[in-house]
Every structure is written in structure tokens, then in C-alpha cells.
């Protein structure tokens, strides 16, 4: 009766116009895409190697997904970038306590990390792109390219000829589902619901810890409905032949409009009630008294049976769009009901980020399910096939055993320009859309102590939702940019191109901020965390892996020298006074945060501002964050017999201590303090990494080792310290054990929002309800 497929997508639509920084527009191309009749290939374009197809030198494992209009290319590369490594000096003698010697050495090393690159471009450019890849590909070990999509066989010969790679065809749906699982697991805020008339239009879903089972409805030329039960188990449960191809084909017949995008554009301007027979047409005015909505469609195209009437193209296109969207939504609901599923993901070229179709599909799902089923869309829907094909080809590398993170610096945002905004203008220029994902060295999992993982939302303020807050923070980050650039240059005094790179960083991050002003939803829910992370990604992009390493080194040196004195003075205090002093110490150390503008302003203008000033702000003695704040606190816990797991960031973020730094610091403190020394030896004090490289903390994406340790040791108190981790994120996090969140509010605006003043203290102790 019906079968439905996505593979044969004969779209020749311009791709999303992405305005990621440095958007590279192709040179004017003669062909505006000629759809299924064979694309005329333009060989004259030149591609800038540092923008698209990056890291081709190290690329391996290619996969390609060729749809009707868009090609998605995937490859795996290793990225070399500089990291600041810390290493203890070899302390043969006991002469390391000399005043001017740093506590450890920093060496900038080249580190190799794995990255996945996904590039989406119009089929028109496929030949030029293949040439480009051939020219830049150094790695010759690659012998095979995984290919999927309806166009895979059409371009098979071309690919084999150009790249001299053997084309392995992969099943379309299998790739799609593999890709879908991958993005749902690895990309936070991947899925969203679309609400046309609300602000924001996009409401992103926090990652569900259990993504299975779900229903995937792929609307290509036809519709496939697949129930996905596990990573490898899925079933085609149904489909429909009424899909994107019907909209396009029938639309072309009815309106003489040839292009899909133009049809959508027509539809967005039409009035379907001129063509459809509505309930009110059948019932007259009585529908109200009967409790019927007069605007419901009784019969699609029901009015067109009166042949003596002329119908406008717009109206017919709109009617067709409604007809198809409603039909798909209805079938999806029927299948969801049959399988007792409430999440339905939609993808395929009919959706492809088009607000018009997302709106009608959402409407239909809401109508037919009476709100019981949720229509979800994916930010990287267009890449699913390519991701899946890549994963199939890379099975021996076992990419699924790793966690991956979206690289905000290297990825284009969602729908920076909506496809229906003037498709005609874009017809002659192509744009490349990118997605880059970094392989995280260790898999990330939920903190086992989260009270309700599915409902955990790390971020305190949703800036997509809160326009005032958004405006404030975007401006705040813009204003802080100069300082960050300066700091970055200063961190690499020996580098000749530091200034140049820093400038590129500035450009890139500035552009990201501008994009986010226009499209706050570009990378999922906009939060302070995402702004901070994006900045870290951009800094890394231009080889500023740890601009604060030197600062931290110096501060740690000073603090280590102060440590014995601080501990001695604490020990003289009575128990109660000591507890207060310890907490104040934790908080005072927290003031030294280069990320906070209020603090960095003071610090930049007064290089001698330091410990004493922080002390004065809090009117008491304290120490610098980790050494003078955290370690005395930890020591106190150890003294009372508490086992402590001290978790620090895996990678650098601002001046936050990293795991590797914490190891050295602990080692140095152990040398001075027998309590810490014995605790380390007896494993009552464990230093682990969080898996994060952000000033904030997502408790649903923590290092697997940390999670295992938490479970193994039966942790019953969680202390979260710092504005990024305890206020911007996790302020509302509910845990199933006692928790203590403490921070100093270093931002006047936020302080005001929270009803306090700058440098107010948050000290939030929570006991879970019985």
C-alpha cells in the first residue's frame, strides 16, 4: 500500500544560510541547482582551506550523504593544538621553597585530539568540493568512503574517480537512526519543540538520560516512521506515500512552481480556507453551538470541486501544505499511540528547519494527540545520515564508546537565516554549514546523586526566554572581550603571532555574539554557560588553550607559601570560629575569578590588588581559591574523618584550577601538611576530574570515573563552589543527598536580580526532602 523513504530526495533548494562568523559564500555559480535533472557542476570556485574542510591533512574515514539537493560530508580528523601542561619540578633537593620560584612548570605542548567534521553544501558544488578534498588530503591510508542518501549511486562514479576511494553504500534508514541516536546522546539541546507564536519559538529539550524508545518520522519524498528501541534495534513501523515529494510534485502541478522552497514560500502567504472545505462550510454557523471548531478542515481541496472558480497559487500551496502536514501528524500520532510513545522526532527535507512545516506538523500532532504526543525537531537533523554513515564506517574505532561535544567555535548555528526568507535571493549563492564535534577523552554520564535526572536543568537562567537577561549578558560578554583578548596575548609573550590570533579570536567570538543577538536559539538554549563555553572553544580554536596558566602558576605559588600560615592560624581558632573562617576562606578565594567583569576590572587596573583586598571585601582572613580556600576546608573534613573526593575541571577554563594543577598543588600541600599527606596516601582524599572544561558545570555530563567513585564511596554531601558552578548553573539543582552551594556574586546585575548586592554571598545548604 505504501512505503516511504527518505533516500530519494530530489530537492534542489538552497541550504540554510548560515551566518557563522566568517561565513564563506561560494563564488557566484551559474547553476542555481537544477534538481533531479542533474546538477551542473561548478569547478571554478576556490575554497579557503582554513574555513571549510579543515584539518583535511589528517582526515580519515570519510562518509558522504548525498540527498536530492544537499551533500553532507563527514570525516574524522585529529587536531593538533597547543595545551598548557603543568609538571612538577624534579625536587631532588628541599630547596623548592625559594620565594621566586614557581611551584611547577608550565610547558606548552602539542596535543592531538580527535574531531568529527561535518560539512553541508549544495550538490552543485560537489565536484569542486571533491577536487578540493583530493588536493588537500594527505592521509593516504583511507581507502573507502561510506555513502548514503538517494544521490549516493548517482555520484558514485564521480566520487570514486575524484577521491580514488571505494564507495561503500550504506542503508539510508540505518544511517539516519545511528545519526539520530548519536546527536541525541552527545549534543545537549539537540531536540526542540517549535512553537510558532510564542517567544522563544524554539524550546530546547534537556538531554534525556534514556533516549529510547522513540519514534522517528522521516519526511523525505515519502514518510518513514521508525520505532527505535535500542542503539541497534529499530523497526520500520509504517509510513506514508504522502510526504515531501507529494508536496513538491503535486504543488508543482497545481501552481506551476518548480522549486520546493518557492512552494513553501507560496504556502506561507496563502489562505487555505479558500480551497479547503471547512467545518463551518458544511455546518454553516452552527458549528459553534455544536462545540465544533469551524476552522477545522472537513475536506482538503473540498472547495476546488467547483471548477468554475479560480484558485490562487498561494491558497492551493497552503491547502496542500496543511493536507500533508496534518496527514503525517495524524499517522505519527496513531503510531505513537499504538506503541505508547510520547516523543516523536521529525526529520527529512520536508522539515529541514523550515518554520512553516515545523509549525504545521506541530499543530497537527497537538491536534491529533490532544497534546499527549510531543513533536520534536533536531538542530542537526540534516546531518543524521552523514553521521550515521560515518559511524558505520568507523565501527572499528568504536566512536560510540566516547562522549563527544559540539564545538561551538567550529559549528554553524541553527537556521541563522530562515529558509523562506527570500529564497530567490539565495538561489545563486551557496553557503556551507558546519558541525564539528570534539571527542572528549572520557565518557560523560549523569551524576548519580541527581534527584531526577530527566528533569535536571543545569542552567539557572534561560537567556532565550529572558530577553532582558540576554541583552545584559551579551553586552557583558562583548564588553569583556577586549580584556580577554589582552589576556590571551599576554599569556603567550614568546609567540610572534599571538596578537594576530587573538584578533581572529576576537572577530570570531564577536560574530558569535552578534549571531546570538539575532538568533538566541542558534546553539540550543542560550545561557551564561553556553556563552562562556563558546568563548573557551573560540580561544582554543586560535591556540589560546589556557591564557591564565601563568597567572594561576604565580597565584598558586603565592598561595602555597601562605598555606602553612593559614592552616596554623585556623588551628588556633575554636571549632565554631574555625568553621566560619573556613567558609569565608572558600568564598574569598572565589572572588579571584577572571571571568567576572567586576573583578577583572579591579584586577586589570590594579595589579597589586590581591588577597588583602579580597579579604577586606569580606572583612576577614581567607586564602586564594583552591589552596587557601578549598584545601583548608578539605583538611577540616579529613580531620573529622570524612572522605573527600575533590573534583576539578579536566581542561582549563578561565583561572579555574584544572585537575592536573590540583594534583601538583595537592602534592605540594601534602609535603607541608601531614593530614593531607596521609589522606592522599590512604585514599581518603581523592583527586579526580569532572570531565568539564567550562567555568560552569553540567551535572548530567560528568566524567564517568567521577560518577563511579561517587557511587562506590557512597557520597552523601556535595559541595559546589563558585559562581559559574553554583549560581549560573546548579543553583536549582536538586540532589538526593545533602548539598552545599556557595559562591560570591561578582556581578552587580545578577546580584540585583537575586536581590542582593555586588559581592554578596550565596551559601545554600539543602537537605533533600524525605
Amino acid at each position: 500500500m505504501r512505503g516511504a523513504f527518505s533516500s530519494q530526495i530530489y530537492a534542489h533548494i538552497s541550504p540554510w544560510l548560515m551566518s557563522w562568523p566568517g561565513t564563506f559564500k561560494m563564488a557566484e555559480c551559474g547553476a542555481s541547482g537544477s534538481g533531479s535533472s542533474g546538477d551542473s557542476l561548478d569547478k571554478s570556485i576556490t575554497l579557503p582551506p582554513d574555513e571549510i574542510f579543515r584539518n583535511l591533512e589528517n582526515a580519515k574515514r570519510f562518509a558522504i550523504d548525498i540527498g536530492g539537493s544537499l551533500t553532507k560530508l563527514a570525516y574524522y580528523s585529529t587536531v593538533q593544538h597547543k595545551v598548557a601542561k603543568v609538571r612538577s619540578f624534579d625536587h631532588s633537593g628541599k630547596d623548592t621553597e625559594r620565594d621566586h620560584e614557581p611551584p611547577y612548570e608550565i610547558s606548552v605542548q602539542e596535543e592531538i585530539t580527535a574531531r568529527l567534521h561535518f560539512i553541508k553544501f549544495e550538490n552543485t558544488y560537489i565536484e569542486a568540493c571533491l577536487d578540493f578534498i583530493k588536493d588537500h588530503l594527505v592521509n593516504t591510508e583511507t581507502k573507502v568512503i561510506q555513502a548514503t542518501g538517494g544521490g549516493a549511486y548517482k555520484f558514485k562514479d564521480l566520487i570514486e574517480e575524484k577521491l580514488r576511494l571505494k564507495v561503500d553504500k550504506e542503508d539510508v534508514m540505518t544511517c539516519l537512526i545511528k545519526g539520530c541516536n548519536f546527536v541525541l546522546k552527545n549534543i545537549p539541546h539537540e531536540a526542540f519543540v517549535y512553537q510558532k507564536d510564542s517567544d522563544p519559538e524554539f524550546r530546547f529539550q534537556t538531554n534525556h538520560p534514556h533516549i529510547f524508545p522513540y519514534l522517528l518520522v522521516n519526511i523525505g519524498s515519502g514518510v518513514s516512521i521508525v520505532k527505535v528501541e535500542t542503539e541497534d534495534r529499530f523497526e520500520w513501523v509504517g509510513g506514508s506515500s504522502i510526504g515531501g515529494g507529494t508536496f513538491w510534485g503535486l504543488g508543482a502541478l497545481l501552481t506551476k512552481t518548480k522549486k520546493f522552497d518557492e512552494l513553501l514560500h507560496l504556502a506561507s502567504r496563502g489562505q487555505h480556507s479558500n480551497v479547503d472545505m471547512l467545518v463551518r462550510d458544511v455546518y454553516g454557523g452552527a458549528h459553534q453551538t455544536l462545540g465544533l471548531s469551524g476552522n477545522l478542515i472537513a475536506s482538503s481541496f473540498g472547495k476546488s470541486a467547483t471548477a468554475d472558480q479560480e484558485f490562487s497559487k498561494e491558497d492551493m500551496a497552503k491547502s496542500l501544505l496543511h493536507m500533508i502536514s496534518n496527514d503525517i501528524g495524524q499517522l505519527a500520532c496513531l503510531h505513537a499511540r499504538l506503541h505508547s510513545l510520547d516523543r516523536v522526532y521529525f526529520g527529512g527535507f520536508f522539515i529541514r528547519g523550515h518554520p512553516v512545516t515545523m509549525r504545521t506538523i506541530t499543530y497537527s500532532i497537538n491536534f491529533f494527540s490532544k497534546g499527549e504526543v510531543q513533536a520534536l525537531f533536531l538542530r542537526h537533523e540534516g546531518y543524521l545520515g552523514a553521521i550515521g554513515a560515518f559511524l558505520k564506517g568507523a565501527e572499528q574505532d568504536n566512536p560510540n564508546q566516547y562522549s563527544w561535544g559540539e564545538n561551538y567555535a567550529g559549528s554553524s548555528g541553527l537556521m541563522s537565516t530562515s529558509p523562506e526568507l527570500g529564497p530567490a535571493q539565495r538561489a545563486r549563492s551557496g553557503t556551507f554549514d558546519l558541525l564539528e564535534m570534539d571527542r572528549l577523552e572520557r565518557p560523560l554520564v549523569n551524576l548519580p546523586l541527581l534527584l531526577d535526572p530527566p528533569s535536571y536543568v543545569p542552567d539557572t537562567v534561560d537567556l532565550t526566554d529572558d530577553a532582558l537577561a540576554r541583552k545584559y549578558w551579551l553586552t557583558c560578554f562583548e564588553e569583556a572581550l577586549d580584556g580577554v583578548v589582552k589576556r590571551a596575548v599576554a599569556s603567550q609573550p614568546d609567540s610572534v603571532d599571538a596578537a594576530e590570533r587573538a584578533e581572529k579570536f576576537r572577530q570570531k567570538y564577536w560574530n558569535k555574539l552578534q549571531t546570538l543577538r539575532q538568533q538566541p536559539f542558534a546553539y540550543g538554549t542560550l545561557t551564561v554557560r553556553s556563552l562562556l563555553d563558546t568563548r573557551e572553544h573560540c580561544l582554543n580554536e586560535f591556540n589560546f588553550p589556557d591564557p591564565y596558566s601563568k597567572v594561576k602558576q604565580r597565584e598558586n605559588g603565592v598561595a602555597l607559601r601562605c598555606f602553612p600560615g593559614v592552616v596554623r592560624s585556623l588551628d588556633t581558632l575554636g571549632w565554631e570560629e574555625r568553621q566560619l573562617a573556613l567558609v569565608k576562606g572558600l568564598l574569598a578565594g572565589n572572588v579571584f575569578d577572571w571571568g567576572a567583569k567586576a573583578v577583572s576590572d579591579v584586577l586589570e587596573s590594579d595589579p597589586y590588588f590581591g588577597f588583602e583586598e579580597a579579604k577586606r571585601k569580606l572583612q576577614d582572613n581567607s586564602g586564594i581559591d583552591i589552596i587557601l580556600g578549598v584545601f583548608p576546608f578539605v583538611r577540616e573534613l579529613l580531620l573529622r574523618g570524612t572522605e573527600v573526593i575533590l573534583a576539578c575541571n579536566s581542561g582549563p577554563a578561565l583561572n579555574d584550577v584544572t585537575h592536573s594543577e590540583s594534583l601538583i598543588v595537592a602534592e605540594r600541600i601534602a609535603g607541608m601538611d601531614p593530614v593531607v599527606h596521609s589522606a592522599l596516601r590512604e585514599e581518603r582524599l581523592l583527586l579526580v576530574q569532572t570531565g568539564s572544561s567550562s567555568p560552569c558545570l553540567d551535572l548530567s555530563r560528568l566524567d564517568k570515573g567521577l560518577a563511579a567513585l561517587v557511587r562506590e564511596r557512597g557520597a552523601d554531601l556535595v559541595v559546589i563552589e563558585g559562581m559559574g558552578r553554583a549560581v549560573h548553573t546548579n543553583y536549582h539543582a536538586a540532589l538526593c543527598c545533602e548539598s552545599l552551594k556557595l559562591a560570591v556574586i561578582k556581578n552587580a546585575w545578577l546580584a540585583e536580580r537575586l536581590g542582593g548586592r555586588l559581592f554578596s554571598v550565596i551559601f545554600k545548604y539543602e537537605v533533600p526532602a524525605e
Binding site: M1, G3, G249, L254, S299, S300, S304, A307, N326
Partner: protein, 569 residues
Amino acid sequence: MRRHGPFHPRVHWAAPPSLSSGLHRLLLLRGSRIPSSTTLSPPRHGSLSLDGGMVNPPRVRESIGREAFGPPPASSDWLPARWRNGRGGRPRARLCSGWTAAEEGRSSTLGALLGRQRWLLRMGAGRFGAPMERHGRASATSVSSGGEQAAGGPEGRRQEPLRRRASSASVPAVGASVEGARRDRLGSYSGPTSVSRQRVESLRKKRPLFPWFGLDIGGTLVKLVYFEPKDITAEEEEEEVESLKSIRKYLTSNVAYGSTGIRDVHLELKDLTLCGRKGNLHFIRFPTHDMPAFIQMGRDKNFSSLHTVFCATGGGAYKFEQDFLTIGDLQLCKLDELDCLIKGILYIDSVGFNGRSQCYYFENPADSEKCQKLPFDLKNPYPLLLVNIGSGVSILAVYSKDNYKRVTGTSLGGGTFFGLCCLLTGCTTFEEALEMASRGDSTKVDKLVRDIYGGDYERFGLPGWAVASSFGNMMSKEKREAVSKEDLARATLITITNNIGSIARMCALNENINQVVFVGNFLRINTIAMRLLAYALDYWSKGQLKALFSEHEGYFGAVGALLELLKIP
């Protein structure tokens, strides 16, 4: 015999029995719903002229206020007015096409005639909120009728002037024993109680007056069922008012009414016993857009004088209610669409099809050689999935005669098929669209699984012949230019049919029902669709689901409405 004019158009009224001219009956009804059978007077033939030779009655636009309608007729200060219709004269211009155009020709022969006088009272209470305009019109009708006093009918029946309701002092019809039966909805009688034997009998049988119609006004088609009594006694025949007779003759002696009204002769149910009367059930349809003409005809024929109750269902019962009232002076009894549909199906299935089975199925539906239409005995009807394909589609799960629910519906129905066909091929009739479809090849238009995969898509167990994308080939300009109108019609038919089958299958699965009955006029003369539904349901359910069809596919709503009139459970 006399009666009052339709004092208020909203009243449900019925006429006294006609067995003797001396019989008067007073009927009083309240409320807007159909009177329950107990409130209906015994059947009698009303008078309706089907001739077209009527002039528009002179109108007296006069508002009649509450007082004009008088107190309840229990008191005697009202006058029976004589009502007649068929005043002769020039045919008036018709609004619309065929339906009336056809009988235009017959008009002169039918001639003008008079309705029997009846007593009719209405209780206006609770209905005075109706627009004055209507009051005025109702009154005007009475007046105008009254204005043509003593115009003799062909039978030479005595005519009494019709009195204005406003001055309705009682003027009993000559020879009529003043007798009135007043009933309210609860069926209580009051007033004079001289009742004839037959009337008593009739009352006992709770039969409404002839003519018996059931009307289903859909989005595209109006379905009308008409019961033609064949057991009319000589006495009855004599009593039968001419207009009623002419309706009978007109409807039963024609198979087409104008250019658009059609009687499905092959569907006629013969020797049916309904409410103790034997007769034939006729099935008539005409396009909904001719509804104004139909109403106009009702007005021209003074249909309202028959005091019959028009039981109507379908959305049009609501949409045209006002028109019936203001133009035709007819009060519709509106009935729930789905109730009627189910009543109709169960009833029609129970009476069979002139000795044959009503329900059928297709064996080997995909094989044009071996395909056979075979009777199906729906002895265990429940549970049943009922898919009614009209302009749109409604899907009901029926668990018992009174227990059903609407599962879902889709707007992709017969109206979509026909509408798209009109746009794509320029055809103008459903028949034409189907005829084109029968000659077309949808595989030129649709993209099949094998067009994409070269064969079956084994990974998902999809056969190569399955449609992957309806109209999918039409994305290509070359292919658009290569298809014929017939191909497009065929593809439209296949698309809509497949989709209905698919949704029906999902509903059957969700509701755990394995017999699916497809009804509705989309299936009329539409073997392609029926066979496709049969095949698709069987194939995709791996033989678990059975597609059933019914001979009277589109008429069940109308039948249900008729049954409601007759209070047949």
C-alpha cells in the same frame, strides 16, 4: 377540514388523519426537536403540489408579535384556517438548475391543488425569540394563502379560506367535526377527542404522516431516502392529498431530477415493511450546491402544508436550517450524523438487499482476473470499525448498537479526490474523474519503492510496487510533461485511497478491531478504490483485517434519519 397556517415556522407539526373529511385534529407541539413518535399524529397524506405552476404568493409583510400568535389553542379563541397550496399561475423563476428544472416540465400537468385543511396549532412559547422577519413571513404565508379563497383543487375538495393567524377566530371547516388534538412533546392530548378508528390505530402505531423522508446533507452531496408506500388502500388513496400523491409519482416515476438529481434505482429496496407499512425505499442524491433549489422547490410546492417532519442529518442540516425555515417554511429536525449513520447501517444490513446480502467483500482484490465480489454475512457486527468516506472521512469504532465512538477523521476524503481531480484534469463530475482514473497509470506519477531501490526495500520489508512517494515523480519537470490527465486522476485516486486505508488500518490496530466496513459515496461506482482498500488492508495487516463494503454505501445517514422519523430503534 381545516387547519391553521404555519403560524410559526419553528413548530413541528403534523396533520390530522385524513380518513374522513370531517376529522379535525389539533396538534400542539412544543420544542424544536423532532416530536417523539407519541406526539406525532397518525400518518396521513398531506398535500403538496409538485407542479411548478405556482406563483409566488403575494406577501404581506407583517410582523406578528407574541400576541399575534395567540394563546395556546386549548382555548377556543383561535380559528382553524384553511391552508392550501397550489394556487396556480405562472411558474416562478427558479434559482437553480436541474432539480427544479426537471419538474418544471411537469408542472402544468400536476396543476394546482389544495391541501387538506388541518387544524394545526402551535405553541410558540419559547420560540418567540426568533427573528421577526420569520414571524412575518410565516404569517404572510398564511395571509397570502388565505387571500386566494376557495380556489378549488383538482379533486374539488372544499377549500376554506385561510385565515390570518392574527384573527384566527375559529372557522371550522365545513363538514368537519370540530376536533382537535393537542399534544405537547410529552404526548398529552387535550382538546376535542373525537377520534376515528383509523386514527386510533394510527396513533397506536405511532406513525408519522407521509411522506417519509430521510435527508442527509453532506458537504458535497445530499442524500435523500424516500419511502413509497405500496399498501395504500383505496380509501387512503382517495384521501391522499394531491400534492402528496404527486410527490410520490414524481419521485418514483423518474430516475433523474433535473440535471443533477439522481435516483439510484439499482439500490431501491422493495417490499420493505416500515412502521407497519409496506413499500419501497428509494435512494436519491443531488449535489449540496443545489440545496437552495431544493428548498425553493419545497417552498414552491408548499411542502410545509404537508406537515411532514423533515428529519435531516449531516452538516447541512445545520447549515440550511435557516433556509428551510425562512424560504421553505419547513422546520428541520436535525439529527446527529454519526447516530444516523450507525442506525442506518445496522438497519439496512438487517433488511438485506432485496434478498441479497447487503455487505460484501472482495476476494483476490489485486487480481483483475480472479477478483470476485462476494457476499459477507455480518452476523457478528461488533466490534466494527466504520469508515465513512464522504467529502472528508470519519472513522468510528462501533461496539454495540448504542455504543460507539468517533476514533478520528481525516480531511483527505472524497472531496479531496474530486477537488484535486478537478484542478489537475479539469473534469467536472465524479463519474468523469473515476472514468479518467480507470484509464490512467498512477505509476507514472507516483514514485514507487522500486523506483528508488530498484526492487524491494528488504531492510524494511517493503515491496517494490509500494508507493514511496505519491506524486513523487512530479518533482521532475520531464515527468510532469509526460503524464496524462488520466494518469493524474488515477494517482489522485490511489493516493487518497491508500491514505484512508492506512489510517483505517492504524485505527483498527489501536482499537483492536479486525473488521472494517467502508461506506460513503466516495466508494460509489468506485471499484478501483474498493479493491485497493481490500488489498491494502489485507496486505499490510498480513490477512488480519478484512475490508467490507456495503451496497448502499452513501445512504446510511439518510436512512438513519428516516428511521429516526419513524422512531425505529
